[in-house]
Amino acid sequence: MQSKRKQNFSLIMFALPALVVYAVFKLYPAVTGIFYSMTNWNGLSKEYDFIGLKNFREMLSDDYFWQSVIFTIKYVVVLLVIANVMALVLAVTVESVKKGKGFFRTIFCLPNMISMIIGGYMWRFIFYKVLYYMADNWGWKFLDQSWVGDTRYAFLSIIIVASWGCVGYLMIIYMAGLQGVPTHLLEAAELDGANGWKKFWNVTFPLIQPALTVCLFWTLNSSFQVFDVIYSLTGGGPGRATQSVAVNIYEEAFRGNIRYGYATAKSTVLFLIILIITAIQLKTTQSKEEEL
């Protein structure tokens, strides 16, 4: 057995390339970011003061920030439920279809290959032009809504586009989980007289828990940082009605009063929120998995 020191040395040597790029491009910027969050730097002037936790105290009474936090939580919860339910239903349905399984899988996963910037523009075309065309020429009056301007519909539009972008990805993961369910278990359940729904709930669902954990983790982490979809669709408007935390941070850092220090303080808080929620999610799903 090698000594610990020798083991650690060889570990460092092997991890060195990874460690170097990681330290330089992620860790160091993240730590400097935390330092800036304790300054009043405006991002422009060469001078700034260290002001301790003042930014964090100010955040407590910043209504716009908390409004964006609430909006983000609403978005995360709705997307989490809708996207995962849709993905799971699609996965089960595609798995059970006899002909064209590969074809459907290909189509549903297609949006995932396209950048959200590109997809966002394509949807803009639909929300700005196509739906109104249908409303005006086909008499489909229910489509004559302000898809980006009305707060309720804007939220719906954002959820539609975001789900469009991620359901296919989640579906693939669920399908992989489903393929791991042994057929003999399902057959046995069938012999015991279980119908389709019971079979799914009692046999399949517990067995795809790992896929569920991964999908929830992924949706949580990415949707808390949501920026692209909102920025390209509504720009956070009307007013601030659809501002997510990431959009709020971006505006604070680059627009208006250009308060870079304050903006980094906000992103530090965002990081903590994500960290805590992810930790809770992992803990609960893991304890559930252990139960089973």
């Binding site: 060469k46 009307p238 308060r259």
Partner: protein, 439 residues
């Protein structure tokens, strides 16, 4: 498993505290700065060498005139090589308008400022105070700039940039539709109401609304505030900066804003500025609160359009009905650039006696200097008639956070999620906050 997670969190906390020593970072930063400064000194001393090569980084917010500016840069490169034996290579960067601010800021904060960059004229003071801009007061090209334009780029008596887009603007209108309805541009709010009625009787929608981008609805506050304060309360802005005034005093401006919204095209939130201009050109509405900078899009979409400009009335006092004189875009020369000398030459070349007119005409910019000897479009002449009569004002310079907030609030007013009292309260708050921060 639980135990593992807790230990992971603890380890993470340790990483953060172990590396969170901020003091070291700043000293490292300032050292890097010193090194760079010495490097720039060397660069300057070597500048006397013949046939040298110079690289110039230019960043501009005119993606729609990319071709015109690229050609102009080529001309400059050729001219420098021929006349001064300097081989200039220009890197021209044109981010789209909504990303421009953040990219420029990233460059500035990273000590990677372009040698020349455009900024909003409203922000010129901020940039000048932060020490980014070169004083161009004594440059030959500046001397020929019209005085009223020069004023818009002057900070503490010094000209801090080359004005590029300078406009006299308020409301664009479709002359054919006005003729059709037998009406002329209104002078008072009551006349404007009558105009709306007359247009609607003819089946025309009076106002084009394009509120998707926040800066477009914001134009309504820009013109109404300017007219109202110049005509009725000239010291309002000054007092706002001292926390001694309120939007309550200019509440009247929302009368006309409401009138515009009530008589506007539908689906305003789904209409971007450029698409709005194109739709206006195709006859979607008779009037559009928009600057003459959008004339280019309008005239390309519909070359037969008879475009006109009139001043938006705010109330029934014709003294408040005025044209807004503004310089929207300014080209600044970075004060600490490595190639400052060549950069200043480029700034001068933008107002070159021989070549500038063609550029300004191709981009549809208004003449800003006596060297611009091209005939201006009829709508520009409309606007300048007001200026000649003394019925104009310099665009009000508000803190940019207040400008942004106005745009947001007007979007909200349009969708009905805020009322006038709410707007006044929030704008007063935003102004106070900006005052607080600029101290």
């Amino acid at each position: 498993m639980k135990k593992k997670l807790v230990s992971m969190m603890l380890l993470l906390a340790m990483t953060l505290t172990a590396c969170g020593n901020g003091g070291e970072n700043t000293s490292a930063d300032s050292k890097a700065g010193e090194v760079e400064e010495t490097a720039s000194v060397e660069e300057v001393s070597s500048e006397t060498a013949p046939a040298k090569e110079v690289e110039l980084n230019i960043m501009m917010s005119f993606p729609q005139y990319m071709d015109q500016w690229e050609d102009y840069c080529d001309q400059f490169e050729a001219k420098m090589l021929a006349e001064e034996n300097v081989k200039v290579t220009i890197n021209l960067e044109m981010p789209s308008a909504d990303q421009y601010d953040s990219i420029l800021q990233a460059r500035l904060t990273g000590d990677d400022t372009p040698d020349l960059f455009t900024i909003q004229a409203n922000n010129i003071q901020t940039y000048a105070n932060a020490g980014y801009l070169t004083d161009l007061t004594n440059e030959e090209s500046i001397a020929k700039v019209y005085d009223n334009v020069k004023e818009t780029v002057t900070v503490d008596g010094k000209v801090m940039g080359v004005p590029i887009e300078s406009t006299a603007w308020s409301v664009l209108y479709n002359k054919q539709m006005f003729e059709d309805a037998g009406i002329t541009p209104p002078e008072t709010l009551d006349e404007l109401k009558a105009v709306c009625v007359a247009l609607q009787e003819k089946g025309y929608t009076p106002f084009m609304l394009a509120f998707q981008e926040q800066w477009v609805p914001q134009l309504m506050t820009a013109v109404t505030l300017g007219g109202k304060t110049t005509g009725d309360i000239p010291d309002w802005l000054e007092r706002m900066y001292k926390d001694e005034a309120s939007y309550e005093e200019v509440r009247e401006i929302f009368d006309v804003i409401n009138l515009i919204m009530e008589n506007g095209t539908k689906r305003a939130m789904e209409e971007g500025s450029e698409v709005g201009a194109a739709d206006f050109a195709n006859g979607a509405a008779a009037m559009f609160v928009q600057g003459t900078w959008s004339a280019n899009t309008i005239m390309t979409t519909n070359p037969d359009m008879q475009l006109g400009v009139f001043a938006l009335p705010v109330n029934n006092n014709p003294e408040c009905t005025r044209i807004n004189l503004a310089t929207s875009t300014v080209l600044g020369v970075y004060a600490n650039g490595l190639e400052k000398e060549v950069a200043i030459k480029f700034a001068n070349y933008v107002l070159d006696d021989n070549d500038s007119s063609a550029l300004f005409q191709a981009c549809g910019f208004n003449p800003i200097s006596s060297i611009h000897a091209f005939e201006t479009a009829s709508w520009v002449q409309d606007a300048y008639k007001y200026v000649e009569e003394g019925r104009s004002y310099q665009d009000l310079v508000l803190p940019s956070s207040v400008t942004d907030e106005q745009g947001r609030l007007l979007q909200e007013l349009y969708v009905g999620s805020v009322d006038i009292d709410g707007i006044i309260e929030r704008l007063d708050g935003a102004f106070k906050e900006a005052n607080e921060l600029s101290k």
